[in-house]
């Protein structure tokens, strides 16, 4: 058998194999299971609702809220300025620039924290930085920020400060207990630092 026929047969065989197997569309995970365990235990991905409210009121430009619920739920209610990236589309290439970036702090939220955590786990394993989860989700947001409960008279002073802030925030966000807005006095919340990403060049080429 000559070289030509060997090459022909090899090409056809490889072609048939590659046509039969499903395409590899998986994106390789960057973090190992051990690294993920450390991340999860550290719970550093959590940001508390009061902080987020604070950043929202001060119109912090580096904050990007991402709503991972379905578009229907997003339509009904969403936090101001949030983007809707449903969990099912978290890996799609159009959303890549939002979830893999080095300029903003993404805060993912869902009703509870399951959906947002699911999204966060996937993104984190892909090695993406700067993604966080809104602690307690929207449910907790409603309970604390939108309808804050007055602390009992015996509570510590800081509880009252928190309550005042929440009531003020509630007014800003159009919640029930609208009162005159007192400038939020909460201390400048410590913000997770945005990890600058060395902007990877898009694959270059061409003549």
């Amino acid at each position: 058998m000559n070289l030509r026929n060997i090459i022909f047969i090899a090409l056809v065989l490889l072609g048939v194999v590659i046509a039969m197997v499903p395409e590899n569309t998986t994106k390789p995970y960057k973090l190992t299971a051990e690294q993920m365990l450390i991340e999860v235990q550290g719970a550093a991905e959590m940001v508390i609702a009061d902080d987020v409210a604070h950043w929202l009121i001060s119109k912090d430009p580096s904050l990007q809220l991402i709503d991972v619920r379905t578009p229907d739920e997003y339509q009904k209610f969403h936090l101001e300025g949030s983007l809707n990236i449903p969990l099912s589309t978290i890996l799609s290439s159009e959303n890549r620039d939002y979830v893999d970036q080095g300029l903003k702090m993404n805060v993912l939220y869902s009703n509870g924290t399951i959906g947002s955590h699911q999204a966060w786990m996937i993104l984190r394993q892909l090695g993406f930085e700067n993604n966080y989860v809104l602690q307690g989700g929207l449910n907790y947001w409603f309970d604390t920020i939108m309808n804050p409960q007055a602390p009992s008279v015996t509570s510590a002073d800081e509880e009252f400060a928190k309550y005042d802030f929440r009531k003020a925030a509630s007014g800003v966000f159009g919640g029930g207990n609208a009162v005159t807005i007192t400038a939020p006095t909460a201390n400048e919340a410590e913000k997770p630092r945005v990890i600058r990403k060395t902007k990877k060049k898009a694959p270059a080429g061409g003549c």
Binding site: L11, L14, G15, I18, A19, V21, P22, E23, P203
Partner: protein, 196 residues
């Protein structure tokens, strides 16, 4: 893991050195295949020598299969591979002008360099022409910029347009190529040329 440099597994400093090494391989294969001979290249269009068809398609298919298998084994991330963007109008008109240049000049840019490397004066003149042609384009760019940028479709792939997997596209191309190879071999028998 691959592509190694975009994934920063090999430092970006090595990129140009790797380009040089890959170029050596490219030039060596082009010359060994006979692409340094304009008469061999032009034979494609008169049927007496279809080496262009055979090398070009075998090369494209090998690389296609390689990319898909590398991706399958997780050796390369196809998202990081450059896919040249499609601008339909300029691609067609540019291709027509290149086709005219091919049959008139007997080379394409890559092959003219491999011809010049072994001392072919016609290859060197062709390269000189390339510089003039690129210069004309650069100077005339304001006039054609609108056309050049029109019809942008982004880096789309045939598999996406047809809605089938890249593997199936590859198999179809392999079958088409084998038919063309057979036709080419028949043409070489039909219009034989003495050795040149």
């Amino acid at each position: 893991m691959g592509p190694l440099i975009p994934q920063e597994i090999i430092g970006a400093d090595w990129n140009l050195f790797i380009a040089f090494v890959i170029g050596i391989g490219f030039g060596f294969v082009l010359e060994q295949a006979g692409f340094s001979s304009s008469r061999k290249l032009a034979g494609m269009f008169y049927g007496y020598d279809t080496v262009v068809l055979k090398v070009f398609f075998t090369g494209a298919i090998t690389a296609m299969l390689g990319l898909l298998f590398f991706s399958l084994f997780g050796w390369i991330d196809l998202n990081l591979i450059y896919v040249n963007p499609t601008f339909l109008g300029s691609a067609i008109v540019g291709g027509i002008i290149m086709g005219a240049g091919f049959i008139v000049g007997g080379f394409c840019p890559g092959t003219s360099f491999s011809a010049a490397a072994i001392g072919k004066i016609d290859g060197m003149v062709f390269i000189g022409g390339l510089f003039i042609g690129v210069f004309f384009f650069a100077e005339g760019y304001p006039l054609i910029e609108d056309f050049y940028m029109s019809g942008s479709m982004g880096p789309i792939k045939v598999s996406e347009v047809l809605g089938i997997s890249g593997g199936v596209v590859t198999l179809l191309i392999i079958i088409a190529a084998l038919i063309m190879f057979k036709l080419g071999e028949l043409a070489e028998k039909r219009w034989p040329r003495a050795e040149y």
